[in-house]
Structure formats: structure tokens, C-alpha cells
Symmetry: C2
């Protein structure tokens, strides 16, 4: 089954909103065995939307639209769908009542314009909206289906996950497209390729893609099968082959994130962590505390952006900074040891570097970063030379530090 | 002139890459007076791409494709364009030579597959690629234009900015669509609307849109005019009206970002800043140091995630935490004063709150956040009750703190 997504809204075409809905929907469709073949974005113009819907209903079996279902005049989706499918709007007393109840539960009067939300195209089925006021609309015609959902990510996501995916799974009768991501860090795309190229077979039913980012390289395996169990079994077999070649670089699978993996390992070993950050300015702490429950293992840290704070708060000896510079293996070592002691943590991690764009010298160029890790055993430091802009160097430094923590906890080199 | 963007690549439809190119292109087109009417995404399948190109060449005047121009077999754009426009591939000796030179300048041998980059469709014009190896291709037929550029953002951006926008500006003979964003913070969308509704005129040539995000609400004004000067003058006039109503909430315009505005103000007043973060875990420091040159005014901070660090590193009196809790106005006050003193900064800012999803109580629910600001004058604290998830509450807390700094520096209430 092939599908098309139509996203609606001037803000998407003006370049003022980045469309994140499309990625979510593409992933969910694949899980349901539906191939997203086209994604079209149109602005808030009725003629363009009618044209796009007509085209989509011709070239695919299933069309999903997002956006433009609100109660105000500039939301045109419902009007356009009535015109396209030749339906009248019908007033639903029960929907109005439940809308009014929702507002009165919140202790506010319902804005009159929201009465429009109780006007729905004749013959359409509805999808409940647990979060907002616009219902999802289902049209079926000549073996084809069109579903319209709101553009607000949380409302769209709830409808897709709870209603649309189960419905699609029934239609695809179990045919599934299953992806697996092997998430790696600390190794470049070309180096992975060298290690696995002999097991990549263009003719295999398992397709392989390398997706590099500044956090690491994901290896995506994709297989289409009659059912989920068959697909998983083929993916498991292939995953084992990759693990033999590059196992120590794989930190997780699919939606696993490195900060959560670190948290899991720290919890398991009952160890605590503290950080001392210079060039990342708080990004490492922020990334670690993105994880709910991180207070169980993360004590906190010091952002020693100014050298005087490295000395006064972290007890880095002034002579170390004088002799080697703030960006040096020595300073990283003292910072890691200092934060470990100051915070009474089992592991202290430090980052100091030249994030740029200015501040580089021939000897210490922009992108030079030192990371230190102090534990009860010893302190190690590593030098990195990133060739990237300020924001990217900060992200790469943060993930390099997280990978050092991971390797320390797993005792791998 | 109406345009369509076609982005090409399975990774976009699988939901594994978020398409950020579209937003960039939409913005640049508007600057050139071109209306982006449709954006279509297709996967790496020749038939789908041919269909999408045919449709686009019918419904708009100008088509831009991005992606699929690489040298390997899975890059199909060049092949498809040859088929669509009925052209042969022609070998260009000079292009091969310049590619080989580029590789030899880098001290590496050119991979043989890159020879394909010197094969180009007959009769097409080229756009130079200063960054990568794939040239841009220009096809003109029956008053319509199609341009194909690579999907790599840096390569696409350079070609659009340096070659395509100037070309479009000539074609549109100066007709321009100009946007202006008034960037606000610290006020809700509905509250802005109440204050400005009488100056919003549906029939005005200036269109108004409210774009809320967790960092604040942008008000976008859009006008189409014969030339840039006329457009700017209309926008200036309208901007003044908004400033009269909501001036103190406007922190900047267009691409201005709040952390950069704070930096500008701190530099101007020669003041320094330090932060003490609990629930944001480093996000405030990270956001401040996103700005190059922030070391001129940012000293650093302490991430006092564990209560013991609030006491040991920030000198928060244990009795204050016992009596009022770590999430309290009192603790926020001591944290702000403590960090100001520890770091020898002019301004100390603190954030303490319940980011969730757990850790809330009926008295101190998830989303309760206190922010403190200590200066040589006094210390103020503010209470916030955010109704959002962990990640969003952390972003909202960070931007609320930045807005408190802005207001302190501008001496506005």
C-alpha cells in the first residue's frame, strides 16, 4: 500500500516552520507496512489544496493530510474536503456539548468561533482528539482512503498512533516494512564501511543505509516481510554479523540515545557522575539531564568558562594553566579530578577546548578539544581535533565525552 | 512567479532525516519575490520522480529539485532529468580536470566513480559547486525553468544564495515579498492578540501571522511590493504601531535571538553574568554560550543538581532547603546570590524547579519553577507554573531566565 502525506500551511512554505511531522509520520507508516511514496506541502490556498488532494487520490491508495482544521477562517481543510468529496457540513449537537464541557472543565468560556468544530462533513467518520478541539476526519471512496488530522504535533501524533496505525495494520494484512537502527559512536562512516563492506550485498532483501550525524553514525537495516516475526528474525541475523565487526562502537538500537545508555549503566553500577565544562558551557550537563530520573546518578557540575573559575572553583593549579594553557591535556586532567572531588562523585568528566569561531592559534586551532575522565582507578584524557563550526564542535565534544563514559563503564578500550 | 520545490531521497520519507532545506529555500524564494506554492518529497524511485517533475512543470513556472546528484548508482536525478527533457549525457573534459585537481589539492586520489560527475545533460547550463563535486543543472523549456542542486545543505545553500536568487530577482523584475518578524517573549499569543486586535485589518496588504513557540511568540508581517524600499517602509510603519502596544515584550526582529540580545546588552554595559542551574541541568549556560564571544561577559556557573551541591558549592543554608524545599523562592534567592559571589559576577541568575515527569507533589507540582536574579542592587525571584513536558519546561525556564536578564538590563518591569 502506497501513501501520500499532504501538509498544509503557509508557514511551512515561507520557511518559518520546520516540518517535523513528516518524519514522525514516515516512521509510523513504515511500521504499519505502508510505504510513504510522496509528501506534498501546500499553502493555505483552496485551489492548490484541491489540486494536491486530487492528484494524491489518483496516484496512491491512502492519503493523510495534516493542518488547517482549526475553527478560524484561514483554516481551509474542512471546506476543501467538503468540496472535493461533494459533502455538506452537518451540525453535531453531541460534539458541541463535549467541546463546551471541555472548556467549562478548564473553567473558561468557549470562544464562539469554536462552535465551527461541531460542523462536520456528511458521511465522514471521525477520530477523537484527546488533546485539542479539532476531530480527525476519515473519507472512503472507491477503495481509497483520505484521513485529515490537525497539524499540532501532539494531536497529530496521538491520532496517528492510537487510531490510524491500527487501522492501517488491518488493511496491510500484516505485510510489514521493519527498520532497525544500529547506533554507533566514536567511529567514522568510512571506517565502518571498510569493516563491513564484504557483508553488504546489493541483492539482499535487507537494505543497508549509513546515516551519519554529529552524534555518531546510524546503520539502518530495512526489510519487508509477511509478518513482524519473520522481519525481526532476518534483522537479528544481520545485526549479529554487524556486532562481530563493529560491536564495541554500537551503543544501542533504534531510539536508544547515548545519554540514556550512560544513565542505565551508571544506575546499574550504582555510580555517580559530575561534570566540569568549559567550551561546551553546560551542554554536557544539559544532555545528561535530558533524561528523566538523571538525579539518581548525576550530581551536577561547574561551568568554568572563565579561567579564574577553573582555578577558584575547580582547584586547577594556576601554574598548569600558565604552562600548558586552559585548553590542554593537563588542564582537562585537573578539571576532571577537581569536579570529582568537589562534587563527591565517583566519576568526574571535563571538557575544555576552542569552540571558535575565534580564539584559535596555530598551535591550538579552533576545534581542538581535550576531554578528561577521573575515577577511583585513574584519570585519562583524550585529544580531539574537530573540523566543524562552533555549534557542531560543541555537540561532538559532548558526545565524545559521553562515549568516554560509556567505554569506561563497560571497560572497553 | 510561482515555484515548486522537489526534495528527493528515501531518508526523507522514511522519517529518518528532518528536511531543513525546505525552510531555507522558502525564505530565500520569498526574498526574491517568488512564491513557493508546493513542496513535494519523493523517494529514490525514477518513476515517482518523473511524475513529480512533470506535474511541477505543469503547475508552476519554476521548479527546484534538491538531492540525488551524487556519483553513485542510487542517485537518480541526473538520469531522470535526461529522460524527462530527452537529453544525452555529454562528457566534459574540463570538469573532470577540475575535479581531479580538487582531489589532488587535498592530497588524495579521486575515487573512479566520481568521473560520473563530468557527465552532464546536453544543453543544460551549470552552476558551480564551491564545496562539493556535483554541479547544479539548469534546464529551460517553454518559458519554464528547472534547476537541480545537490541535497547537502551547505552545497545547496551556496548555490541558492550565490546563483539562483540573483537569477530569480532578475526574472521577477524587482517584485518582492518581504517578511518581518517581531520577536516577543514573556507574553502569550492570546494576550498579544487582545492588545493589537484593533490594528489587525484583514484587508490590509500587510498580512499578519502569530507564530508561537516555547521560546516566545513571533509576529510575522508580510507585504508584497514593487521594490524592497516600498515594502520596508510599509513594514516600518506597521512595526511602530505594534511597538506602541507591546513594545516591552519585543526583544528583537527577524533572526535576532534572545541569548545574543542579552550578550549585546551585557557587553554594552560592561557587566558579567554567572548562572546556578538545578532543573535545567546546564541548558541556560549552554544557551548563553551558543553565542560566539560570550566569554566576554559569561563567567560560568554551577549545575547544582544534587541538594548537597546547592549547600556545598553555592552556600545555600541547609535550613532554607529544609524549611522551604529545594524548589522555592528562598532557595532560588540563595542560589542567585551564591553564584554571583562565587564567580565574582555582576549578575547571578538561578533556576530551580520540578522538570518532571516525576518528583511533583500536590504542593509543588511538575512544572513549578523559581528563577532568581541577584545584582548589586537587589535580588528578585519569580515563580512560574509551566504546564508542559520535561524538555519544554526546561526550554521555557531557560527563556524566562533570559527574559528576566533582558528586563533587568533594560530596567523594564
Amino acid at each position: 500500500m502506497r501513501a501520500e502525506l499532504i501538509t498544509i500551511g503557509d508557514e511551512l512554505l515561507f520557511g518559518q516552520t520546520i516540518d517535523t511531522n513528516a518524519a514522525f509520520i514516515g516512521e509510523k507508516f513504515a511500521e504499519a507496512g505502508v510505504e510513504l511514496a510522496f509528501h506534498t506541502t501546500v499553502g493555505d490556498r483552496a485551489d492548490d489544496l484541491i489540486g494536491a488532494i486530487g492528484l494524491a487520490m489518483n496516484r496512491v491508495d491512502f492519503v493523510l493530510t495534516t493542518g488547517g482544521l482549526g475553527p478560524t477562517h484561514d483554516d481551509i481543510t474542512k471546506k476543501v474536503l467538503c468540496k472535493f468529496f461533494k459533502r455538506q457540513l452537518v451540525f453535531h449537537e453531541d460534539i458541541l456539548k463535549s467541546l463546551e464541557k471541555r472548556y467549562s472543565d478548564l473553567g473558561i468560556a468557549m470562544p464562539p468561533v469554536n462552535q465551527n468544530q461541531a460542523l462536520l462533513p456528511q458521511g465522514a467518520k471521525f477520530i477523537e482528539n484527546k488533546i485539542g478541539s479539532a476531530l480527525g476526519l476519515i473519507f472512503e471512496e472507491r477503495d481509497k482512503i483520505l484521513i485529515a488530522v490537525p497539524g499540532v504535533p501532539a494531536e497529530m501524533e496521538a491520532m496517528v498512533t492510537d487510531s490510524i496505525v491500527p487501522m492501517l495494520l488491518q488493511k496491510t494484512a500484516g505485510q510489514v516494512i521493519v527498520h532497525r537502527k544500529l547506533r554507533t559512536t566514536g567511529i567514522m562512516e568510512s571506517a565502518i564501511f571498510e569493516k563491513v563492506k564484504d557483508i553488504i550485498d546489493e541483492k539482499s532483501p535487507i537494505k543497508v543505509a549509513f546515516l551519519p550525524s554529529y552524534k555518531g553514525v546510524d546503520i539502518r537495516l530495512t526489510v519487508r516481510a509477511d509478518n513482524r516475526a519473520k522481519a525481526e528474525s532476518a534483522l537479528n541475523e544481520m545485526t549479529e554479523k554487524y556486532k562481530e565487526r563493529i560491536g564495541k562502537f554500537i551503543f544501542g538500537y533504534d531510539n536508544d540515545e547515548l545519554p540514556a545508555i550512560i544513565g542505565y549503566l551508571l544506575n546499574e553500577k550504582k555510580l555517580t557522575l559530575a561534570v566540569a565544562e568549559s567550551c561546551t558551557g553546560g551542554l554536557l550537563g544539559k544532555t545528561i539531564t535530558d533524561i528523566p530520573g538523571s538525579s539518581a546518578y548525576f550530581k551536577g557540575g561547574i561551568i568554568s568558562y572563565a579561567n579564574e573559575l577553573k582555578i577558584n572553583l575547580l582547584s586547577v593549579p594556576p601554574i598548569a594553566i600558565e604552562a600548558h594553557g586552559a585548553v590542554s591535556s593537563e588542564t582537562a586532567r585537573f578539571m576532571a579530578e577537581g569536579i570529582r572531588e568537589k562534587c563527591g562523585a565517583d566519576i568526574g568528566v571535563s571538557i575544555t577546548g576552542v569552540a571558535g569561531p575565534t580564539g584559535g592559534t596555530p598551535e591550538k586551532p579552533v576545534g581542538l578539544v581535550y576531554i578528561g575522565l577521573a575515577s577511583d582507578k585513574n584519570t585519562i584524557t583524550k585529544e580531539f581535533r574537530f573540523k566543524s563550526n562552533r555549534a557542531t564542535t560543541r555537540v561532538r565534544s559532548t558526545y565524545a565525552a559521553l562515549d568516554m563514559i560509556r567505554k569506561h563503564l563497560l571497560e572497553i578500550e
